[in-house]
Symmetry: C2
């Protein structure tokens, strides 16, 4: 039920489905994403439910735009969601599943290459987030407590992205170091062991 509320939140200002897709790509991509194929039907359903209303406007370039805005009912629904306490869902990381099973390959060098590739991907992501942060700091200063209201909250979410992705890059480094220590050891565990899980040997 989150996309629904995120759309309501973004519709602080009236916007089209296309505009909202751009917002997902730009400001929000570090914690949510949605495709147009999901956005358009959802907006329509929210209008049917009375949480939004729309008007059709001619566009300067391209076809007519359907501009949605919040109704009072929609604003109320948004506030209820916000006041309902944190929605903590399941986290899914396919690449962690890959690490978890990577011993099946039977060659720690494969794990090493995997972790190095992962580190690079995450580090690029981190760099993008840090660039946005530097941009904001350059304009508004380093003290978020002086930012405008919405800016303060938005900056906080960016900070979580930076801390969270940053911690993952550090984890890659920690793991790469452990792999290197393991690779320089006598290959005892790899050869004598039965590739057991921790639970089985406990």
């Amino acid at each position: 039920m989150s996309l629904k509320h995120i759309l309501l939140g973004l519709l602080r200002e009236p916007a089209t489905g296309y505009d909202l897709k751009a917002a997902f790509n730009e400001s929000i991509s570090h914690f949510w994403s949605a495709e147009l194929g999901q956005i358009y039907p959802t907006l329509r359903r929210l209008e049917d439910a009375g949480l939004l209303h729309s008007r059709v406007e001619p566009s300067e370039k391209g076809p007519n735009r359907r501009v949605y805005s919040l109704t009072d009912e929609g604003r109320e629904e948004l506030l209820e969601w916000l006041r309902g306490g944190p929605v903590v869902g399941v986290e899914r990381f396919a690449y962690l599943a890959q690490v978890f099973f990577m011993d099946t390959v039977g060659d720690l060098h494969e794990t090493r290459a995997f972790m190095a590739a992962l580190r690079q991907r995450l580090n690029e992501w981190l760099a993008r987030l840090r660039a946005i942060e530097a941009d904001i700091n350059g304009t508004y200063g380093n003290a978020p407590e002086h930012y405008p209201d919405a800016g303060f909250h938005q900056f906080a979410t960016l900070r979580m992205g930076i801390r969270s992705i940053g911690s993952k890059v550090e984890w890659c480094d920690e793991t790469l170091a452990a792999i290197d220590r393991r690779l320089t050891m006598a290959p005892s565990a790899d050869d004598t062991g039965e590739c057991r899980t921790l639970e089985e040997t406990r």
Copy 2:
């Protein structure tokens, strides 16, 4: 396409759907989850595709068990997935979306209460992960490079959970501190500002 491969990975040892559900709850809940309603049909499809085969066994307690095991084809498919490089998907955090829009409520004390509740949830989660880590360290020592092969890889994923959730708890603290600084300021931003986003004022 990840659940499919995770099931193949878990079927290192033959197991029933019920067993696999237990594995999701126990060892891998910090990076994936699945319900029985999804596991059973998926196993059936994997068998139809020739990646698994099953035999029915009587159970000591309860109804007959359908025990699945990997075929050579299934093992090959798993290895391809593992060797295909890190699968980095979208991260979705509903609670970050809530923070992002929380200024709509118009009272920073609401944000503070939200962040405090979130911190507690995350901290409990962290404590569970740390307990597992302590348990493993107690049995195998503090040097993961000496763990058995599968254990080494599994421990690495646990470490990422600890770092990642830990960084989020730290982020909560950072944000709570910023909120407190903002609350003790003259309430200028809250009253004079127009609740603008960072983009709009740029």
